[in-house]
């Protein structure tokens, strides 16, 4: 077990290097001048000054090595566009809101999705099942920008007098409600369906029948045996869901004016802010890798069947 973990952890290093290399090369392929933001052209001498200042006049492999060295010391470099800020600062200030948004959405998805799926499975093919699945399917299918728009429209415009919920910013806890729902609805639906399917399958297993035949109370059967085993696919799905949360947050952050990483990313690519794009991509990649690693390890722990098969 420990060997597995150590090996997985060690493997992240070349992975990160690969991510950096790919991002680096890709960014250099995009045409565009990171220093020209307005229609006004930049005089030659100033362009040269800027390139010298940020080391952009060195050949690409020199820049790459320098960048890798900096990353190793956790120095993600200065922003090319926001002249008084470093990428480290940007990450430090804008990562927490995104992380919080993602965590809240994930929490929302789990807290409402799993019980919903459980309910649907236990009342399979009767009304609670049908209605729960309708909710789940609609929640999964409707794109989150529409969900966000509808939420804003109803809670802030139509019923603005009853609910006092801000629709932008991320300071008060009320401002966090709508974005969380908008981002978390899709994953919630997904978890609901997943839980339902998994519980249904588990319920057919022989050991459940055995438990019931032994005369155990339904509640114990459900909670102790069914739920725990059904949650394995849910745990597996958490990895890709995390990816979804990260990408979905780009749109949600824009709509709700949340000062997170997602919003910064799009603007940075648009503005050709190489260092910010590289820094954020590396960061996001590390998150996804670590999350996948955790999920894999968890999976290995939770499901003893997989330990030998691997």
């Amino acid at each position: 077990m420990t060997r597995l973990i150590i090996r997985r952890v060690l493997w992240t290093v070349p992975v990160i290097l690969l991510v950096i290399l790919m991002t680096f090369l890709l960014m250099r392929q995009i045409e565009g001048n990171p220093f020209r933001h307005s229609e006004r052209a930049i005089p030659e001498s100033i362009q040269r000054n800027l390139e010298a200042k940020y080391g952009l006049d060195d050949p690409w492999y020199v820049q790459y090595v320098r960048y890798v060295r900096d990353v190793a010391t956790f120095d993600l470099g200065p922003s090319l566009v926001l002249r008084n800020r470093d990428v480290n600062d940007i990450v430090r200030e804008h990562f927490p809101p995104s992380l919080e948004l993602g965590a809240l959405a994930m929490l929302f998805a789990l807290v409402f999705g799993i019980p919903l799926g459980l309910l649907a499975a236990l009342r399979a093919n009767k009304w609670p099942d049908y209605s729960a699945m309708v909710v789940a399917n609609v929640g999964f299918a409707v794109p989150s920008f529409l969900v966000a728009t509808l939420l804003i429209y109803f809670f802030a415009v139509r019923w603005g007098d009853i609910f006092d919920v801000p629709t932008s910013g991320w300071d008060t806890w009320q401002s966090k409600i709508l974005p969380t729902i908008a981002l978390g609805l899709g994953p919630m639906a997904y978890f609901a369906r997943l839980t339902r399917g998994s519980v249904l399958e588990t319920l057919q297993q022989d050991y459940i029948r055995t438990a019931r035949a032994k005369g155990l109370r339904r509640r114990r059967v459900v909670v102790v045996h069914t739920l725990r085993n059904s949650l394995i696919p849910v745990v597996t799905a958490a990895g890709p869901i995390l990816g979804f949360l990260i990408t979905g947050s780009f749109v949600i952050e824009q709509i709700f004016a949340i000062p997170g990483i997602g919003r910064y990313y799009v603007t940075a690519v648009t503005a050709r802010d190489y260092s910010v794009v590289m820094g954020l991509t590396v960061l996001l990649a590390m998150i996804v890798i670590i999350a996948n690693m955790v999920v894999d390890i968890l999976y290995g722990i939770l499901d003893p069947r997989t330990r030998e098969a691997r």
């Binding site: 565009g32 001048n33 229609e39 609910f163």
Partner: protein, 544 residues
Amino acid sequence: MRITTRALVAAAIAGSFAVLAAGCGGGGAGSNGGGPIDQVITINWGTEPPSLDPGLATDTTSADVLLNIMDPLVKLGDDLEPVPNLAKSWDISQDGKTVTFHLRDDGRWTNGDPVTAHDFEWSWKRTISPDLAADYAYQFFGIVGASEYNSCESGCAAMRDKVGIKALDDTTLRVELTSPQPWFVQQVAHTSFLAVNRATVEKYGNKWTEAGNIVTDGPFRLARWDHNSRLDLAKWNDWRNADTVKLKRINGRMISEGTTAVQAYEAGEIDMTAGLPPEELPRLKDTDAYSQYPGLGTYYYGLNVKTIPDVNQRRAMAMAIDRRTIIDNIAQADQLPATGFTPQGMPGFDEINPDSQWLPAAGDIDQAKELMSKVANPNKNISLLINDSPGHREIAVAVQAMWKELGLNVTIRQQEWAQFLEFLGPPPDASVDAYRLGWIGDYVDAMNFLELWTCKSGNNNSNYCDPSYDALVAKARQTEDNTERYKIYAQLEDKLYGENGAVPIVPIYWYTYVQLERPTIKDSLNVNLLSQTDYSKVEEVEPS
């Protein structure tokens, strides 16, 4: 069992409602929203200012903040003439090449230091220096020795001393220009010419603009700056003119999505939006809060003179555009249909404007077709390049339909900003036949607009080159007398849009700025032609 699961679900739903209910009455993020008159307002800056370093700031948001926390030498009056501010007066020498500013002695920095002419000398030279790599260093290139210093690679210290900026004493600043530039004093109102506190910059380096470090000298100080989230200003009670400042605090949000901003305004979270999305205009136009200001800018479609060489085709394309329809149905902010390049509001407009026959407000499709028929080898496949901001697409689609009537097959290529700029060059990429752009005045003289079309201009994306045009521009630069100069400007406009005009670009409209403002601040809030607001003159009053 049954009870448990259902109870779980029911409890969750009930719980969330309870939570929401607890949330109501909580109030927004500290704004007025129709509350008591307490001289605290919440505005929307729109976006995060990329930099509050006057040497590095190039965009309007940073300029907006800087002009309220710093003390420029001169400010622009209502008619955009320079008025004394920190400089109580200035002299211009006989030959027009030396400008001497006389500063007041009561300017102060927030750390207690006095503001002196030495601060200005040091700051201006810093902006010109190659180390800072300032985008707007070129604004100083009219000063003796500036462009040499900026491009120096060795012996820079000596070059620095040769730059024509000298503080003769604490209150006298002498500037030597390479040629007489009648608009120089107006240019000094720009943020690049603000002073910075040397001790602070040297102490904190790159981070000197953070809220905890920054030292300013203007009516407001930077109270709080949460990046990409909010930027608050508070009245500085030790400013030399503090008793004239009514507002106590300006809280600023950063909502870039126009629809979200309108939403926030209507929810009482902010007192002022920054601009309005065109789609909301029909609904908001007649409300109390709607405000409109003329702007000094031109929205235009540039043509590639090399791929559309026949002037009749260019004229036809200009005439085919129904500006009224675009303004009334798409832009919807009562912009002015452009009849020349220099926008209305520019001093001397009446003398300069050609009221061109090639730019009819409602378009003249019949005349345009006639012109088109005179074209021997028309370029029928037009590639129109636009950037992907909202609003440009709609106008492009409308123009595409209008040019279709001339038999032109228009392909709209939409690119995101940085790539778009690459394609524009100059020189523009060969695949570009037409492109969309706007030009907003940096300073208040038509030279700012007309010099764009010289052969070597870094902003001439049309391949238009006429040596006689360049000669006139050079002559105008040397002409001090305003009336004489306006005559030359008129000649320049004539070269572009007169009877024999080359029409290298097709102006569509002149900008206006629109936004929503609370009735309590509506009348005192004034956005000038360059879209700047002086908050030291704003106050909240009872709505009348």
